[in-house]
Symmetry: D2
Subunit: 235 residues, 4 copies
């Protein structure tokens, strides 16, 4: 059983009627809903305004794969929580960073780069293309899938060279973006997946749900063991 | 002084009036023309129908960077010439593979994969986007450049994961393609660059010429030394 | 159930009493013996002197993961068989290349490089160190394992940069070697693993058997689908 | 002219007579001395106890490549200085991290991982082996170079997979370590080089000096331009 914690900033839902209409149970609620129906996955949720961001040490320790969604309040996540999550990744926890989470403290902490990009919010259509059809994360997707209205993200995306590039998105304006990227950080696997938005109902799209479910299974820990700096004896 | 050999299959030019109209001196002639005006580059050309494909050992040995263009007659290149070129790359020669050269024997020999892709020939516009604005090969290019009419190439492109992805192309049909990719093979550097065609006048485009000139300089050998499998003594 | 085909050149066993004493059922027999006791693996074997190298199309098609051991007769493997195996890897079959298989036609075909190295055959002790303790292939191994007598392999190993480096070996002479390396080629995964020899009884070592069993499971296909170069319609 | 700033923590030199005997002008002094004789390099130095760590914005802005040596006082470097240096790397500045700098805040900030390793301080001999003989940074080095007495560093080294592995060190105890590794971070290049110590006179070794000089030239910026997150218009 893979233990998933869906973390959502959850602020848009509090201040915008429009967001609440799309995601009445919050973005975390929508993500947890489709993950929770999988037989090999159990889900809990946590948000920024929960005590300790909903991520006290015991919750993080009990999480195999964390999903991270944030946008307008990245700066409100305490550094202490960021370190807790980063350390869990180093020890083996999987992390799936969604959409505007590209600028979250947690993702930038793990990448070591600004993780910036070009952006435009005009509801363009996006086609998300499979680059590697034999990877576990792309299974169940044909050559591409379409999202009728999205926020456009454009290269250059200032992340370290992905260890594996899985998806490239293209937009009506002709922009392109590395929409699905994998890195290892310590013992853990990090997957960035660009689709998502607070007012476009992207997390209800079957293809997006398929990819996220695949990614949860792919990012599940092989081991869970903190990294140390041991003094060693001569053999 | 960087010694460049531009290799062109040269068959389209022989059978098609249309191709001759676009490239009256052959595709090799057009490539050699803009490279030859650079102060630090000397150019020779060679084609499939020259004796020994224009690539006898002494020419290959005297080449720092080779450009490779082929399309309709990949199978006519003798295996012996393919090995000669591959060995030169292993020893340090740079290789720039252009457009339909993705299916050349030389490129497939060096990649170890089919190097296949999806394609469509309807004169779509392409935008070629810079993924890494700080790489020597992308200097002089803004966020992107446009090619008014091209052959569409689409992912998946069955090459090994590029060691550095420099450009992604997008087409009017929404397709995407990893249009500029780098790999090392032995001591040599291989750059694949997708723009090009026999009837669209792509090698006259300033941005395309800029990238190819940058690539010649980047792929120039650091050393030129054949790879051996030495018996070693215990130190 | 993972279907494994262990391929062994099998010539040393025919001409050397010493090799027969170490591997009375051949190197393929020793590899098949420990793999065959795993509940999720079925094994067949094939050798160079079997009809069609023991690798007719139907056997290759029915193989999920192939092990490859060869040494003195790499050149006797027909190119047609090499292409059959390479195409199977491109379509998704896993390939585990052992020890002196570094110079096999199949491995060089898939890497695109000479795959050369420095070597010395004096029975040095080797320590094989884990570089990535959280990878599925290194599970069950502590910081390192020891092989009391081996053939020394030394850098530079002229392969493309490994997509994942898992083991580094060190020898009594102080040499080092990238002893466990992973690459993707098309839809398939290739693992090179340096331990092995025809007269040192290395395939009886528990740590070596653990790594090979892990690698069989890791390299099992995600999909099995030949790579094509489709003409595509504008969407 | 490449402008180099050698940064040294400089604390060992203040408290230890033994260190002062080996490096009478400080480790920064020894590094600056051999770099300063190069015609294409100008050097300045800076230390932890200088005002603003010797790294006010104008010094960082005026630096093409920074060398970083620290050991006992990593925690005393203010976060503000760490961010200033990391931002400069993102904008294009090269960074060469030496020996115990593996645990510096700056290096961990850029890698996103703990950068831990196993260690032992008993004056073993180290052989540093060239993995890639055709890389600009390994020029002038034969198959390996020897350091008579070093601190042993052992795998696993918890860094992201190097984009290019250049050196592997082996020690008398049989340990191995990825001693020379390259990564890109934003527009800048980061080189980690393991040789060095406060009491072993390693920075006087000609081979070590050769590698550091090569690395300075290799890591010099291609561009110097801060990374932004621009709002883009539809083309």
């Amino acid at each position: 059983m893979i233990k998933v914690t869906v973390w959502n900033e959850g602020r848009h839902e509090k201040i915008s009627e429009e967001v609440r209409r799309v995601y009445p149970d919050g973005i975390h609620g929508a993500l947890a809903a489709f993950l929770g129906t999988e037989e090999d996955i159990t889900v809990r949720t946590a948000t920024l305004d929960d005590p300790d961001c909903g991520l006290p040490q015991e919750v993080v320790d009990d999480t195999d794969v964390m999903l991270w969604w944030g946008h307008m309040a990245h700066g409100d996540v305490p550094d202490e929580v960021v370190e807790r999550v980063a350390n869990a990744v180093h020890a083996g926890m999987g992390l799936i960073v969604l959409h505007s989470g590209h600028h979250s403290k947690v993702f930038r902490r793990l990448m070591g780069t600004p993780c910036s990009l070009g952006w435009r919010e005009n509801g363009d259509m996006e086609r998300v293309w499979v680059v590697d059809p034999a990877h576990p994360i792309t299974q169940g997707i044909d050559r591409y899938f379409e999202l009728p209205h999205v926020e456009t993200y454009a290269e250059p995306f200032s992340v370290p060279e992905p260890e594996k590039l899985l998806f490239i998105g293209s937009y009506e304006g002709g922009e392109v973006f590395r929409s699905g990227c994998l890195w290892r950080r310590g013992h853990g696997t990090v997957f960035y997946f660009q689709p998502g938005h607070e007012t476009f109902p992207i997390y209800y799209e079957p293809a997006v749900q398929t990819v996220i479910k695949n990614a949860v299974r792919y990012c599940a820990p092989v081991i869970r063991q903190p990294i140390t700096c041991p003094h060693i004896e001569k053999i």
